[in-house]
Assembly symmetry: C2
């Protein structure tokens, strides 16, 4: 029997917040901490924890800079993160297909 | 700002095993315990735990019968489970779309 596509899912994206973060970064080059916070409606602490988890596996990188006098923290998807996310999405699409919808 | 589709995801399906179970039941009317076990490559205990969790929220129902002299346990998606799963899949599809793939 062909392996079920759930085995191709990536544990790093089981969590909805992490899935949301990476899908936002997949769509745009740089996304700031505050934009992610607004988009995903997470607390600072919760968002920071998920960002750290994604940084740890080298799926995203953080960039700290100044916009005028204000510090700005933004995030970018790495090549590794992009490949991992695309594979995950492909598995999800297969699950949707095998479910006959 | 429009709410991000991750908020439409259903916690019951965050877990890959539960997503796999329900996608299998969505595709076919009755699926036996052993078929699910083979399909999803789970241990008896692990599969039983996830099936119980889905029964508890009335997403699936269990049917115990005899096939000849052998007991046969199979599972069916309820109407509530079908609606919940389709909504979840719709949210996943939105996430895939917003990610620009």
């Amino acid at each position: 029997m062909k392996q079920h596509p759930i085995h191709q899912l990536n544990k790093a994206f089981d969590n909805r917040a992490r899935l949301g973060i990476v899908s936002a970064l997949r769509a745009r080059k740089d996304v700031t901490f505050n934009e992610l916070k607004g988009l995903l409606e997470l607390t600072d602490g919760n968002l920071a924890t998920h960002l750290q988890a994604l940084e740890k596996v080298d799926y995203i990188v953080v960039k700290k800079e100044f916009a005028g006098r204000k510090p700005k923290t933004s995030y970018t998807l790495t090549r590794k993160g992009k490949i991992a996310f695309d594979k995950h999405i492909e598995a999800l699409a297969s699950i949707i297909n095998t479910s006959g919808l």
